[in-house]
């Protein structure tokens, strides 16, 4: 039997190689699972807003854990204390680990001091879910928004995070933008740190 050498159940957990986070599964596995998450949550809610909120909560749980995992594994012994630091961490490290690539772009909002946007031409979770027309502007990106909020909140940068479709000229499918609006205390602290 051809077996792929993967992390086994070690008798002494301390023997487990620390780098075991490099294992992979198929994208389809995630796609099927995620669409079941959406289907199941649909049965538990009455409207789109609630559906998005539940997806967001599910994402939050994932984000909180991803932060712990990645901080320990990727960042070694450094802590993130600056806004741009944590945003860059999300845009590059978190995105790379979860979606296999860094996010398409990270931008600062032009109208408000406390807004930042991470954009993705085709967000993974939206790639294989086609939203029926009668569900309006429902965006599965709410799940990813939840992940981002989970990461930010637990790293000490509370924020309101939402996912939006942004139609792009010349492109058939709209871009997904994750909008991050930081809490006042974060902006003040950032200003204090200079």
């Amino acid at each position: 039997m051809i077996g792929v050498g993967k992390a086994k159940q070690y008798a002494n957990v301390l023997d487990k190689p620390l780098g075991r986070g490099r294992q992979e599964v198929s994208l389809s596995a995630f796609a099927f699972l995620f669409s079941e998450v959406v289907q199941y949550n649909q049965t538990q809610v009455d409207n789109i807003a609630e559906l998005e909120r539940r997806l967001e909560d599910a994402g939050y749980a994932v984000g909180a854990r991803v932060l712990e995992l990645l901080c320990h594994r990727e960042k070694g012994n450094r802590r993130e204390t600056r806004l741009l630091g944590i945003l860059s961490f999300i845009h590059s490290t978190v995105w790379k680990v979860l979606f296999g690539k860094v996010a398409d772009s990270l931008e600062k909002g032009t109208e408000h001091e406390d807004e930042y946007m991470i954009s993705e031409k085709e967000l993974l979770v939206n790639r294989f879910i086609s939203v029926p027309k009668d569900m309006g502007a429902f965006n599965c990106g709410a799940f990813v928004a939840g992940i981002v909020r989970g990461v930010l909140d637990n790293a000490g940068f509370p924020a309101v995070v939402t996912a939006h479709f942004v139609p792009i000229e010349g492109q058939q499918r709209p871009r997904t933008t994750i909008l991050i609006k930081f809490a006042e205390e974060v902006i003040h602290r950032e200003a204090r740190l200079g």
């Binding site: 789109i48 802590r79 993130e80 569900m135 309006g136 995070v161």
Partner: protein, 194 residues
């Protein structure tokens, strides 16, 4: 399929974090009155040779206790909890009033928090503002050993909170976490590489 009411975008983040009871922190002045227990010096054969960790603690970002384990007689436990409380003060001070030139500004390993006559307390602050504390009776601890300890401890912590059934902010109830911590504590300082 839920009926599509016009999907309002406005949904505030549901911060589901409870307000857990904080550890009541003793005023710093009391820390210096942590006295030597008479029995300590009276029975030298009770003190183990080599390094010994007497207490480890995990404290959340609101100073809520997440895990507290003593590895010594019950009488000492109360005093050790006291020591832990005082250490939190030290951590807060260091984090909130960092000396700009301090090398530990961004580091997770906080090093020696404060020594008493019989104990040394080491601290570690994760990216999620969770604090690890380690109290040892060994007055000759090598920095590298302490760092190594926290590295292994952090790995165990990450696995425990990655459990989908662990509720963030609540005490860590995982049995295997307890077992791993015991193993890590036992191997402290004996030169074993994790």
């Amino acid at each position: 399929m839920p009926s599509p009411s016009s999907p309002p975008r406005a949904h505030g983040p549901t911060t589901s974090r409870e307000q857990p009871p904080s550890i009541r922190r003793a005023p710093p002045s009391r820390c210096s009155r942590v006295n030597c227990r008479p029995a300590d010096s009276a029975a030298p054969d009770q003190l183990p040779s080599g390094n010994m960790i007497v207490c480890v603690a995990v404290v959340g970002h609101q100073n809520n206790p997440l895990y507290l384990q003593s590895f010594t007689e019950a009488d000492d436990a109360l005093k050790l909890h006291h020591v832990v409380h005082c250490s939190l003060d030290v951590i807060d001070e260091r984090v909130n009033n960092p000396k700009r030139s301090a090398p530990t500004l961004n580091e997770t390993f906080l090093g020696l928090l404060y020594p008493t006559e019989n104990y040394k307390v080491y601290g570690y602050l994760t990216n999620t503002k969770v604090k690890f504390l380690m109290v040892t009776t060994d007055l000759d601890v090598k920095d590298a050993d302490a760092r190594n300890f926290f590295r292994k401890f952090h790995a165990a912590y990450v696995d425990a909170v990655s459990n989908p059934f662990h509720v963030p902010g609540k005490k860590i109830a995982s049995r295997s976490f307890g077992a791993r911590v015991s193993t890590i504590v036992k191997s402290f300082g004996s030169g074993t590489v994790g």
